[in-house]
Each structure stands twice: as structure tokens, then as C-alpha cells.
Amino acid sequence: MPSACRIVANPSTVFREELDDWALLFNPDTGAVYGLNPVGAFIRKNMDGRHSVRDFADLVTEHFEDVSPEVEKEVSAFVEELVEKGFAEYRES
């Protein structure tokens, strides 16, 4: 998927913020539960249909310390996984 593509969270899934900035994603249609670390939770919170993988990588670099130089690749893999599991969708820009 081109990294300029916007990503939007699937509104029929549940995003549960837990303590220490961790979070759970829950798909009530399948019962699937997916744990998110603080970086994943931060990205999920910004899946409003206005941000691309590249934007997420920039936001992560701004907000977190010691970010890997491979951040865009890692964010892309994470987003792809959420899309595959039905927690998010790509939106053509």
C-alpha cells in the first residue's frame, strides 16, 4: 500500500485504553483481541482518516524517544496487520 494512503480505524471495533498507555483492540464480530504497546496505542488514536503511514512515522518520531531509523517500515507493518485483522482500513487520498 502506498505510504501516502490515509488510514481510518474501523468504527465497529473497540479501542480500550489501559493503564500506562497500553491498550486493547477488540473486534466484537470475531471476538479477536489485540494488545497494543504505547506506540501502537498512540498510532491507533490517530487513525482518523487524515493520517498516512508517513504521517504516523513523523508523529511517532516527535512523541517518543529512541525511535528506530526503520520507523516508517515498522509503522507500515503494524498498520498492515491492523488492516488484515479488520481493525482499520485504508482510505484512498
Binding site: 465497529s12 473497540v14 479501542f15 480500550r16 485504553e17 493503564l19 477488540f26 466484537p28 471476538g31 483481541v33
Partner: protein, 376 residues
């Protein structure tokens, strides 16, 4: 200690106080959860909206018998609309073809639990009343036909303990269920009044353990248990083995009242809308739905905080555990049963006491470890 979730993951609701049956060992009736009235539809629906806003993931509907509520489909629609999944605990006698089709259509049903206590009417109905067996079995068949997940629960008691091999054959071979779960009639609710004829004697308990273990082996692990004889025999064998070896208990925190982790992820509600920590602690009033804020009550109620720190109470501090070799491996049992048996949830449950069981059964630890109890 486990971490407390930000809001409960699961809410267990007595959606009604009514039931068409009066099973002799029912934990609900005559307990402090046996309340005067049910809440109207609107109030439950408003509560489900709050659960949705609080990101609760699943709801378990029990009672009473949930299917006596004429508005049961409307209530389940409210759960589904709020992005939750649900389970229903039922005696099975009121489930119709139309309801099974409705449940299938929601695509959010974790399972409908139907109670079956015998392989034939005379055993099942010995505690549940005439005509209940065929209707419960019919419900299972109708649910299966519609592809609704069915979980069968067998409550082991004095009158069905010798029928366990037939029950396993009936449920797993004849009905083709993937598995079933077991527990035991416990000293709760109505069972307290009929305990003498229903509760497992110590001989029954040994027989149930031996029988369920061997059946589970024969059926490739298709018999489950979170409580009752099969769960006990597994846990107690482990405790006896670890004590003999003097080895660590692994990931289970022994030596404290740590057996119940429910208060870290679950909350319950009585049929009158009162928040309680668990359906087995219905007298511990925490607040009221739609009046008290769920997230605030969950994070700040002093009684919930106290129940969570129960996990840190050392068994060595209880007189009844004095000198017990099993202390490092024991976790003290269910707080709900502790409460009905001792008057406090902050004590070990006598029902879960391995030392007491060995003394009463006359089994030595070596004999218990080797499975030399009673031959079924």
C-alpha cells in the same frame, strides 16, 4: 498481583430474578441476590449504553432464567448495538426455534450455557423438576441447528455422581458436543437448605474426581472445569506433588488468598440494578447502575480495592491453616464460598481445603497422588 483493567472487561448480570424452575441446589434463590423486583427494559438499555461508552467487551446474562424476560431479544439488541459480545446462562427449557434464529443472527454470541445434570430424565429431573430434561435437550439441538455455540454445564451432586459416564457419553457421543464443563453443587443459595441430600459427600467427591479424570482421558480432554471435583483433583494433585518435591508452584501465586482474580477484570449486577463484586457475593453492595459512574466505582470503591488486596493475605496468618504443609502451594479457594461457609470472604474456604479433604477422605497424600481413591 494482577493488574486492574481501566474498566471491567466483563459484566455479569442477573438480568432477572424470575425463573420457571426451582432447582434444589440453585445458588441464586434464597441468597442475598434473590431480590424483590426486576428492572424495566429502558433502565437496562441505558446501562448497556454506559457499558459501550466504557469499552466493556462482554456481558454474561444470568439470573434467574434470562429467557423468562419477554424483552430478552430487545435487551440483547442493546448489547450488540454497544459493540459487545454476550453469553447467556440458561436452564434451556424456554428457548424456542425463533429465539435460536435470533441469537444466531446477532453473530455476537459467545455461547448459550445450558445446564444438563443427567443422561436421562430421572437423573436430570431429580433436582430440576419434571419435564425439564427433554426441553433442555431440545434447546441444545435447536441451538446447534442454528449454529449458536452451546456450552453445557453439568453440576455434579449426590444424585448424579454415578451417572457421570452416561452423561459424558450422552453429551459427547450422542449430542456431538465438542466439550462440556463441570462444577459441583455448593453450599450456596437453595443448596444450603437441601445440602444433606444433594451436596457431594466425601465419598461422592472422591468418586467424582476419579470418574471425571478417567472420562476426560478417555475423551481426549473434552471435559472442562474451573471449579468442582475435576478442577480440585488437578490442583490438589499438583499441590501434593510440589509439597513432596519441595519445588516452586510455577506461575500460580500460592501461600496467599490468591485463587480469585475476578475483581481485576469483572464486575456483577443484581436483578435490582445493584453493583456487586461477583454473583457469588450478592450481599456486598457497591452502588447502583445508571446512578453511580461505572469507571469511578470500578477504580475507587474501597470494597473492591479491599477484595483486590485479598490476594496478599497470607494463609500462614489464619489459625485454621496453622502447621499445614500445603501453605506454599494453596490459594484459599472461592471468596463467595468462604463467605457462605465462614461469614467472611477474607478467609480460606473450608470447601477448598486439601488438608481437610485428605483427613475426611482417609486418603494419604501418597495414595491421593497415585489416584488410588475409589474405583468407579
Amino acid at each position: 498481583m494482577p493488574r486492574v483493567m481501566r474498566t471491567p472487561r466483563t459484566i455479569e448480570i442477573d438480568i432477572t430474578n424470575r425463573c420457571n424452575l426451582r432447582c434444589e441446589y440453585c445458588y441464586h434463590f434464597s441468597s442475598e441476590g434473590d431480590v424483590a423486583s426486576d428492572l424495566p427494559t429502558d433502565e437496562w438499555l441505558a446501562f448497556f449504553d454506559e457499558l459501550g461508552r466504557s469499552s466493556v467487551m462482554e456481558v454474561t446474562l444470568g439470573g434467574g432464567e434470562p429467557f423468562v424476560r419477554e424483552d430478552i431479544t430487545e435487551l440483547i439488541d442493546g448489547i450488540v448495538r454497544n459493540r459487545m459480545r454476550y453469553s447467556v446462562l440458561s436452564n434451556g427449557t424456554l428457548i424456542t426455534e425463533d429465539q435460536a434464529a435470533f441469537l444466531a443472527g446477532t453473530r455476537r454470541c459467545n455461547h448459550i450455557q445450558v445446564s444438563i445434570d443427567g443422561s436421562a430424565p430421572e437423573v436430570h429431573e431429580s433436582c430440576r423438576g419434571a419435564g425439564t430434561f427433554r426441553r433442555a435437550v431440545h434447546a441444545i439441538e435447536v441451538l446447534q441447528a442454528h449454529g449458536v455455540p452451546v456450552a453445557v454445564r453439568v453440576t455434579v451432586h449426590h444424585r448424579n455422581v454415578r451417572d457421570l459416564p452416561n452423561i459424558a457419553r450422552f453429551l459427547l457421543d450422542d449430542l456431538g458436543l465438542p466439550s462440556f464443563s463441570t462444577n459441583a453443587a455448593s453450599y450456596l443459595g437453595l443448596c444450603r437448605d437441601h445440602s444433606a441430600g444433594i451436596a457431594l459427600t466425601v465419598e461422592d467427591r472422591v468418586l467424582a474426581m476419579t470418574t471425571l479424570e478417567s472420562l476426560n482421558e478417555r475423551y481426549g480432554g473434552r471435559i472442562q472445569a474451573a471449579a468442582g471435583p475435576l478442577a480440585e483433583v488437578r490442583m490438589w494433585r499438583e499441590m501434593v506433588r510440589k509439597t513432596a518435591e519441595g519445588s516452586a508452584m510455577g506461575d500460580c501465586a500460592g501461600g496467599c488468598l490468591s485463587s480469585c482474580g475476578g475483581v481485576f477484570s469483572k464486575l456483577a449486577v443484581r436483578a435490582d440494578g445493584v453493583y456487586i463484586p461477583c454473583t457469588l457475593l450478592p450481599g456486598t453492595v457497591l452502588g447502583r447502575i445508571t446512578v453511580d459512574d461505572l469507571a469511578d466505582l470500578w477504580s475507587n470503591h474501597p470494597e473492591l480495592e479491599r477484595l483486590r488486596t485479598r490476594q496478599t493475605l497470607p494463609l500462614a496468618g489464619f489459625e485454621e491453616c496453622g502447621g499445614c504443609d500445603y501453605i506454599p502451594y494453596c490459594r484459599g479457594g472461592c471468596p463467595g464460598l468462604s463467605y457462605t461457609l465462614t461469614g467472611s470472604p477474607y478467609r480460606p474456604s473450608p470447601d477448598a481445603c486439601l488438608r481437610r479433604f485428605l483427613r475426611e477422605s482417609g486418603l494419604g497424600p501418597g495414595s491421593f497422588l497415585a489416584g488410588n481413591g475409589v474405583t468407579p
